[in-house]
Structure formats: C-alpha cells, structure tokens
C-alpha cells in the first residue's frame, strides 16, 4: 500500500508541478513583469507610498522566480537583492531600491542573453525569439536607430538562409555590442551622478556597470586573458561597492576606465574596420572643403557649409570611436594624437558654427591634414585597400543632407547636396561599377538624374520642389540600388572571364563611338581633300598613344586622375565641338558651294595670316586636334573605367579584354571604311553629312550633360519627358531644356549653314545665268 501512496503522491506532485509550470508566465513575459514592478516600486517610493512599494516588490519577486527558475544561483542573488530592498521599503531607502533594481534587472538580462544564445545554437527559433524580447538596446539618438541584427539573424535561421552557428554568432555580436555600450554608459553615469551629487543614481549606475560587466566579461577574458579579467572584475566590484556605500569613487572609476580602455566586447570584423577607416578618411577630407566654402575674409558667409563641415567631422569622430580599440593596440600615442586632432577640429567648427570664434580655413585644413597623416600612419595596408565601399556612407550622409535641406525648403542647398553625392559616386564607386555591373550603374545614375522605371530622378524632384514623400520614395530606391552596388563592388569581379568580357565590352563600346566619328569625318574627305585624312588619323593615333600613357599614369594616381574625369571630358568635348563646327562649316561650303571655296580660303588665309599662321598649318593643326579629341575623349574614359577593373583583377586580365575589344573595334572600323569606298560618291556625301551632323548633335548633348554633372551648367529638367537610357548614350538626348536646347541650336546651325549655302549658290547661279555668256568665267561647279 505504502508504495502506492508514494507513487500517488509523486504523481500528484508531478501533476501539480506541471500545472504550475503551465500556469506560470513565459519567461519573457515574467521578465517584463519584473521590470515593470521594479520601476513602479521606485515611483511608489518617490511618491511615499510604502504599501505600493511592498506590493510591487512582491510581484517582482514572483516574476523573478518565473524567469530564473532554471538558474538557481542567479535566482538566489536576485532574491537576496530584493530582500535588501524590502527591508527598507518603509523607510526612504531610495539607494537600496535602486541597487536592487539594477542588480535584479542585469541578472535577468544575463539569463536572457545566455538562453537566447543557447536556443539559437540548437536552432530553436521560437525560444530564441522569446528570450530576445528580454533585452536592451543601444540608446538611440536622433541619428541612430536600434539595431535589429539579432532579429534578422533569427529570421534567416528560420528560413534556412543561415546556419545555427552563424545565427548564434550574429545574435551574440548584437547583444554584446549593446551591453558593451550600456557598460560604458553606466560607468559614465557614475561619474555624472557623482558630479551632481545624486547618491541613489550613483549607486544604481555602479551596480548596473557591474551587471553589464558580468555579461561581457567572457568576451573580455577571450581577448585579454584570465589575469586581466580578474583585475577588471575586481575594479568593477570595488566601483559598485563604493558607489553604493557613498565612498569616494574617483579611484575605482579610474581603475575601471583603465581596464576598459580600448575594449570592445564585439570587435568589428575586418571588413567593418576597413569600412570605418574609409569613412574616417573620406569624412575628414571633406571637412576643410566644406569649411572653406563657408568662409570668406575671415567671416562665415555660408552657415550651412559650416554645418556640413560639422556633420562630416562628427562622422569622422564616430568612425574613430569604433576604430579606437584597434588603433590603440597599433599605436597608442598616435591614436591619442589622432583623437586630439579630431577634438580640436570639433571645437573649432563648433565655435565657427555658433559664431563665437572663427578659425581660419588654413588652420582647419592643417588640423584635418594632421589627423589624416596620423590615420595614414596607423591604418594597416589592408584597410586602405579594402575601404572601397566607404564612399557609400559618404553618399548616404550627403543624401541625408539633401533631404534635410529639401524639408527646410532650401532647394539650392538640396541641389548642391545632390551634385555632391553624385560627385562622390562618380569619383569612386562609378568607376568600378561600370566595369562590374553596368546595368546597376545605369540604375543608380537614373535615380540621381532623370529617373528610372516609374520613379522620377532626384534632379527632377529637386527642381520642382517635390514633396518629402516623393523624395523619400526615390531615395529609398536609390538606397536599394546603392546597397546592391556596394555588395557588387564588395564581392569583387567574380571570375577572370567576366573581367575579360567586361573590359572587352568597355573598349568596344567606347572604341565604336570613336570609330564612327572618325569614319564620318574621313568620309567627307574625298577627292583632293583625301589628303586631309592623314592629319585626322594622325591625331587619332596620337590620342591612342596618349590614352596608353594615361593608362600608365592612372596605375599610380587613379584617385586624383578620376577627380578630373568629367571635367577633363567636358573640356575635351568642348574643343571637339569647336573643331567640328569649323569642319562642318568647311564641309558644307566645300560640298555645296565649291565656287566660293577659293574666296573662303582667301578670307581664312587673311585671318590666319594675321594670327601668324598659314592656312595649311591651321588646317593641319585643326584636323590633328579633331582626330585627337575625337579619340582621346573616349580613350580617357576607357582608361578610367578599366583602372577600376585593374584594381579588382590585375592588369594582365584586363589587358586581355582590352586586346579583344580593340580587335573588334578595328574590325568594325575596317568594315566601315570598306563600306564607305563601295558606296556611290554622292550617296556617300549625303550619308557623311548626316553622320557628321549626328556626331555634332550627340557630342553637344553629351557635353551639356557632362557640364551639368560637374556643375558648370544649370539643370532644368523637362517635366513629364521620360527618355530611355540608350537615347542618352547614342543620341546624347537627356530631358533637360539646356541639353535639348543646345542640340537644337547645333542642328539649326548646321541646317542653317546648308540652307544658307544653298541660297547663296542659287543666287550665284541665277546671277551667272543672267550674265552675258562671256562673263561666265568663274566657278568650277561640281555637283
């Protein structure tokens, strides 16, 4: 009978326990209850409601038991802390309650940290999600949002996109990063509470610091070893005790700060470090530029430029904070010098921003340069090479400014920010992107300029002062495209074959443009003028050599050369347009008004002689220049694009693609020239006239667009006009009044030249026909 009784009692006990367990709130909910009860107990104490304090503490006790049921040691510690608080619940025990709150809550957080990791490791996503409800976050600011890395990792684990181990690593990094920041904030809180004389706050902060320390201590041990961890542990315990007891905290604080100096619980990955390094460098370089723009004659003339300088300085300082632990290990003295330079810069800019004192642009530049020099000496080579995606952060920051300026109705500033963001894209990622993912490049460019898909481009939105929602929609799409670009660039070129193919396509595409221009020009030089082909082709040959030289130079100075990319292109294109107009003028007169050629030549000769040149020399120089500019503008562009690929895959691989592309271009060139010979002469002339006109119109459209990109020409988009991307590439058509207007003017000039020549020829023919037969002695009219 007795065994049956025992069995029955055991069964009943089991059933009761099971029922109790099922009735007990889930841990995440119990943790929330504990937090609320502790917070309410504090409020009740402040309000002098002792009974409510006791009631809330009792609720906290029950909640804590549910959360920590499986962790008896933690449960004992939490109960002990609550018991201390209950003892003084009736008195004014603010300090004791504050300590109990901090102790119990950080114990719960540590339990949640461990359980979330365990659940993630075993692939139990629901349990991990539950425990992640019991967590803290880095305190958000106006500029930062709470992280969601752990949540995303669990999503990925749930869908099978991430293995349990990798998901656990992501969860751990997110949480460690959070509690590291909380630890630092608590230590700072002790100092601040000491300064203002808030005893309860000081005690609470000291206990919080110790609690957060217990969460990150294993990471500390891994990084710094057992002995250092024991020292740090002792320092934190002393600090917590001193803060609670009201003893002097200066000594313990100093020891804690020394122990934590340079510690980062979740170290950044090598990629992230390189990225921060790139940010620091890019932002610092922009500081003196923005500052200089905002100053004139020792006065702040453009306050927003100073604000932008401050924004970039702050960005550099934020990147520095992330890099500091690593940099301290590489060179503590230089790291502190770098930190001080950033601080000095911050003070100088803040003073200028407030108008208190205005530092000279020279001083800001030298301080910035000093910081950059320190950074360059400290940064390992790998960071410098791998920082290729840092431009994306600068672009994002600049686009933020665009939106902020637009929201304030400061549209000129918004446009300036847009151009700046595009400039950063163009000088950095664009070069690589053109080689790695040309279609993606076109998307990004579309969002910056005239739109992509259904969405208008930023330039259009800024010009028509669009609503914040419209700007946000295009910005979101641009962000997505840039994020994709960043991944694409970060992933590198993929296979060698793709680099060869991309290089070949670039050379062929740019080469084709040059060949068509040359073919059109050369085709116009027939008969006696065939001799003009030689200087034209010689100019093209010189351009090829110059492009090769540019390649060699670019190998060493890509960054600075790229900085001149669009400007140089604009200048070369303007020269090309000028020469082309002269040639066109000559062409029409030569073809349709031959009789007057001698007169024309005579006039030219007179003019050129006055300038100290002979006509032949001028023609030679003009044709050489035309051949040169026609090819070099493409050659330079090709070199810039290819350099990006060279950085990715090496010169040898790229050169294979160059050879292929060049061969294809030559083949097309040869075919064009053969075709030209087979065409009847008159048809050839007509085709040539159309071709040269097309070349001019395209050149004018593209040059206006280039000048708009570098800010040399205004941009006035044509509302509602959407043009496909290819129309820009092959016809130079972009939906702006300036671009289409200039093209229309160029076309009018050419057509006008033709019409004018025709009219003059008609009048002259009529005059000749009307004259007596003996007087018809001029002209060697040729159709």
């Amino acid at each position: 009978m007795r065994p049956l009784v025992v069995l029955g009692a055991g069964l009943a006990a089991s059933l009761w326990l099971a029922a109790a367990a099922s009735a007990a709130p889930e841990p995440w909910r119990a943790a929330g209850d504990a937090r609320l009860s502790l917070s309410d107990a504090e409020a009740a104490q402040v309000l002098g409601d002792a009974q409510a304090v006791r009631s809330e503490l009792a609720q906290a006790r029950r909640a804590v038991a549910a959360v920590l049921a499986a962790r008896p040691r933690d449960l004992r510690a939490a109960r002990s802390a609550l018991a201390d608080a209950e003892v003084v619940a009736t008195a004014r025990g603010e300090r004791e309650l504050a300590v109990a709150r901090a102790s119990v809550w950080t114990t719960i957080l540590r339990a949640a940290f461990d359980e979330a990791l365990r659940a993630t490791r075993r692939g139990d996503v629901p349990a991990a999600r539950g425990w992640l409800l019991v967590r803290e976050f880095r305190p958000p600011t106006r500029f930062s949002r709470p992280a969601a890395d752990a949540t995303r990792a669990l999503e990925a684990l749930d869908t099978g996109a991430l293995a349990a181990r990798a998901a656990a690593a992501a969860v751990r990094t997110d949480l460690l990063d959070t509690y590291d920041a909380r630890l630092q904030a608590a230590v700072t809180g002790v100092r601040e509470a000491e300064r203002v004389g808030f005893a309860a706050t000081r005690a609470e902060m000291g206990t919080l610091a110790l609690g957060y320390w217990h969460i990150v201590a294993p990471a500390y041990r891994t990084q710094r070893g057992g002995a250092a961890t024991r020292r740090a542990d002792a320092a934190l315990v002393r600090l917590a005790r001193a803060a609670e007891d009201g003893a002097a905290v200066a000594g313990p604080l100093a020891r804690v700060e020394r122990a934590l100096d340079g510690f980062r619980a979740a170290p950044l990955s090598p990629d992230e470090l390189a990225r921060r390094a790139g940010q620091l460098e890019r932002f610092l370089k922009l500081v003196p530029i923005e500052y200089g723009r905002g100053m004139r004659d020792g006065r702040v003339t453009l306050a927003f430029e100073i604000q932008e300088a401050i924004t970039f300085r702050d960005g550099a300082a934020a990147a520095f904070r992330d890099l500091q632990p690593t940099l301290l290990q590489r060179g503590p003295t230089a790291t502190r010098r770098l930190g001080r330079a950033l601080d000095r810069l911050g003070v100088a800019l803040a003073d200028a921003g407030r108008g208190d004192a205005v530092a000279s642009p020279g001083l800001v530049r030298s301080t910035s340069d000093a910081a950059l020099t320190e950074a360059a000496a400290l940064f390992p080579e790998a960071w410098k090479e791998a920082a290729k995606t840092a431009d994306f952060d600068v672009i994002a920051a600049t686009l933020d400014r665009l939106q902020a300026a637009a929201a304030s109705g400061e549209w000129a500033r918004a446009e300036s920010a847009r151009l700046e963001a595009y400039g950063i894209f163009e000088l950095g990622p664009e070069q690589r992107l053109r080689g790695l993912a040309p279609s993606l490049f076109r998307r990004v460019e579309g969002y910056f300029w005239y739109g992509e898909g259904d969405l208008p481009g930023l330039v259009q939105l800024v010009k028509r002062k669009a609503s914040a929602a419209e700007l946000a929609a295009t910005r979101a799409a641009l962000d997505d495209a840039l994020a994709e670009a960043e991944v694409r660039i970060g992933a590198g070129p993929g296979s060698s074959l793709s680099v060869v193919a991309n290089s070949a396509v670039i050379v062929f595409r740019e080469g084709l443009e040059a060949v068509l221009i040359l073919a059109a020009l050369a085709a116009s030089m027939v008969g006696p003028e065939r001799r003009f082909r030689r200087p034209l082709l010689a100019g093209a040959g010189v351009a090829l050599v110059a492009s090769a030289v540019t390649w060699v130079v670019a190998q060493t100075v890509l960054g600075s050369l790229a900085g001149f990319g669009e400007r140089l292109e604009a200048i070369v294109s303007l020269v090309a347009i000028g020469v082309l107009l002269v040639i066109l003028n000559w062409f029409y007169h030569r073809v349709y008004w031959t009789q007057n050629l001698q007169g024309l030549h005579r006039r030219k000769k007179t003019i050129l002689a006055g300038a100290g040149l002979t006509l032949a020399a001028a023609q030679l120089a003009g044709l050489l220049l035309l051949g040169f500019t026609s090819v070099y503008r493409e050659g330079f562009e090709t070199v810039i694009f290819l350099q990006a690929l060279t950085l990715e895959a090496g010169a040898l691989t790229v050169l294979q693609g160059v050879a292929l592309g060049f061969a294809a271009t030559l083949a097309v060139g040869a075919a064009v020239f053969v075709l030209e010979r087979r065409l009847p002469h008159k048809k050839m002339l007509v085709a040539t006239g159309i071709l040269i006109t097309w070349v001019l119109v395209v050149l004018v459209g593209q040059t206006v667009q280039t000048m708009q990109k570098v800010g040399w020409a205004p941009v006035s988009p044509i509302e509602g006009l959407q043009l496909p991307y290819w129309s820009g590439i092959w016809l130079g058509l972009y939906p702006t009044w300036q671009g289409l207007g200039a093209q229309a003017a160029a076309l009018a000039l050419v057509v006008g030249s033709y019409v004018g020549a025709e009219a003059l020829r008609g009048r002259r023919r009529a005059r000749i026909l009307a004259a007596p037969p003996g007087a018809r002695d001029t002209g060697t009219a040729r159709p």
Partner: protein
C-alpha cells in the same frame, strides 16, 4: 496687422503630393490620420485666437508709439486682460501639438513642422538644429532663425526671452512683479502669431494630403524615443523641478512631463494601428509592446497627475523617474524596430 507683417522667410514646405500607400496586412492607419486632423484643426483655431490677441496688443502698442511705459500707464486694464488671455490661449493650445508630436516628428513629410513649431532651436543655440525660417517684424527688424514658435512665444509672454520683452509690469496688481509679469515686444509677438497661423495652416494642409504608410507609423514610434529623452532632460531643469533656480527660457509654463504624457498618448494611437500587423508575425511581441506602452503611459500619467496636484519632485527624484521611464521607452522602441525588421518595414533614418 495680417500676414504682411510677418514676412516669414520663404519656405516652400511640401507641395504635399501624396505618397503611394504601402499596405501591411493587419495595419489600419486611418485612425492615426483622423487623430492628426482633429488636432491640426484645433491648432488652427488656437493660432487664430492667438493672433487676435497679438494683433489687439500690437494695435495698442502702436497707438502709444511703442512706448511701453505709456502703454502700461494708459491701457493698464486692457493690456493685463489681453496678456492674461494670450497666456491662457497659449497654455490651452500647446498640448494640441504635443498630442500629435509623435506623428508629426516621426513622419518624414511632416517632420519639418515639428522643427518649426516645437523642436527647432535658434541659430545661436544650435545652428545644426535651428528652425528653417527667419521672422520679419512689422517694424522691419529680422530675427534670424529665432527658435521654434512655441518656445519663442513662451519666452515673450513669460519674459524668459528678455530681448523680446519690453518691460516688466505688475500684471495682476498684487504689488509684486513675479515670474511671467512682463509686457512682450508687440512687434515680435505679432510676427510670431502670424507665423503660427501660417505654419499651422500649412501643417493642416500637409496632414490632409498625407497618406500614412506603415513606415511612417513605425518610424514615428521609434523616432520619438530620443526626443522623449530630451524632454525628460528639459523637465529636470525646468521651473517644475528646479523652481526659481531654473535658467531655461522654455518649458516653464506647461510641464514637460505633461508633454511626455501627451506624446505617449499619440504613440498609443499609432501603435493601435500597427499592433495587429505585428501580431500577425509575433503575437507575443505585439502583446508585450502594447502592454509596455500602456504601462509607460500610465506611469507618466500618474506622475503628471501628482505634479498637477502640486507635488514637486526633487532633481534627484526627477532624474531617477525620468531615467526609468526612458529605459522603458527605449525598450519599446527597440522592440518596434525588431518588429519592423521582421515585417520588412523600413524605419526612416
């Protein structure tokens, strides 16, 4: 007096083209817009009433040649009555905005009005966070980026912006000049009142054109957390905590604690719109966040009722209570961010 006296620097804020609405299963944001429009209508009425007072005061001051000693000597009763009415109008009108601040500040297309009306600093205090307008006074003076309109007018009416007040005066006639007993600069008050009318009108129009998106709603909840942190900081150094030792020129008339309660009330409305959508992916998270938000609102409401009943918190108590509430708010924002990540809703930066 009219809009001409207040030539506020050109500010082409939002042509208010409606953004495409992105649907999120379970979310219902229509009540959020209704709530917003109800309050923007109240704000317009407040602005109109406030301008009536400011215009009348300006007319009296003008009649006295802007000699405030003469004005006070000759129109004592009328001036005292007007200023009392102006202050009462201000105190009544301030919470209208606070109740929708969460929506306005957290919605990218409306956020500029938060800067103009309630959050922007003066260029002198913080050029980076300064308001985007200059205030041109009827007498031709221009106040460059003078700070948000509520702070500006509070400073004028209660004398915490001495440069915008003309003189002190015993408005209640009790023989002592106490806090808030000043004659404001009539030009500045009139221009600020015009600006209130202008921008509250624009906010109302922008709100009508607004089509709330899940991103707006999630962002509004997340973005208000750091703002609340600032508010607790402002509360701790205001007259409500420090009494006569307070040195700030704002938040001395309506307690920031009250504002925090109003903001939380607005956030609860927003959360009611998105909570069901969160519940579709994680009912535990949805339940917990709603509960924490409700509890936080009750926590703050309890404190503000105590404060209204005359209780004064010590700076240390204010610090502890504020920090506790802020921690809870941070946890809420954090959880809403997690939910947004799971629902793939973008939180605006």
């Amino acid at each position: 007096m009219g809009a001409s006296a207040c030539a506020v620097a050109a500010l082409a804020v939002g042509a208010a083209t409606a953004a495409p609405s992105v649907s999120l299963p379970g979310a219902d944001l229509a009540p959020v817009k209704t709530y917003l429009l109800k309050h923007t209508a109240l704000m317009r009425r407040f602005a109109s009433d406030f301008r009536t007072v400011a215009d009348r005061y300006y007319a009296l001051a003008k009649a006295s040649g802007f000699r405030y000693g003469t004005l006070w000597a000759t129109e004592r009763a009328e001036v005292a009555r007007l200023l009392e009415r102006g202050k009462a109008t201000w105190i009544r009108g301030n919470p209208y905005y606070e109740r929708v601040e969460g929506v306005v500040a957290g919605t990218p297309s409306l956020a500029v009005y938060d800067v103009i009306l309630d959050a922007g600093s003066s260029a002198r205090e913080d050029p980076a966070g300064a308001v985007p307008f200059d205030l041109r006074l009827p007498d031709g003076r221009v106040l460059r980026k003078p700070g948000n309109l509520y702070n500006l007018t509070e400073g004028m009416l209660w004398g915490t912006r001495p440069e915008l007040t003309a003189t002190k005066a015993d408005l209640d006639g009790d023989g002592a000049i106490e806090f808030g007993e000043v004659l404001p600069d009539a030009n500045a008050l009139a221009a600020a009142a015009d600006a209130f009318v202008l921008y509250m009108g624009r906010l109302d129009r922008a709100a009508k054109a607004w089509r709330p998106t899940p991103s707006d709603a999630f962002t509004a909840v997340v973005v208000m957390v750091p703002t609340m942190n600032e508010y607790f900081g402002q509360w701790k150094v205001s007259r409500f905590v420090l009494g006569g030792r307070a040195q700030g020129d704002a938040f001395n008339v309506v307690s920031r604690l009250s504002d925090i309660g109003d903001i939380l009330g607005g956030l609860r409305v927003i959360y009611a719109g998105i909570g069901p959508a969160i519940g579709k992916v994680d009912v535990r998270q949805s339940t917990q966040t709603k509960r924490e938000l409700d509890e936080l609102w009750r926590y703050v409401d309890r404190l503000r009722r105590q404060e209204r009943a005359g209780r004064r918190f010590t700076p240390q108590q204010a610090d502890a209570l504020g920090r506790s509430a802020q921690e809870r708010a941070t946890a809420i924002a954090g959880q809403v961010t997690q939910a947004a990540a799971r629902l793939k809703v973008k939180i605006a930066q």
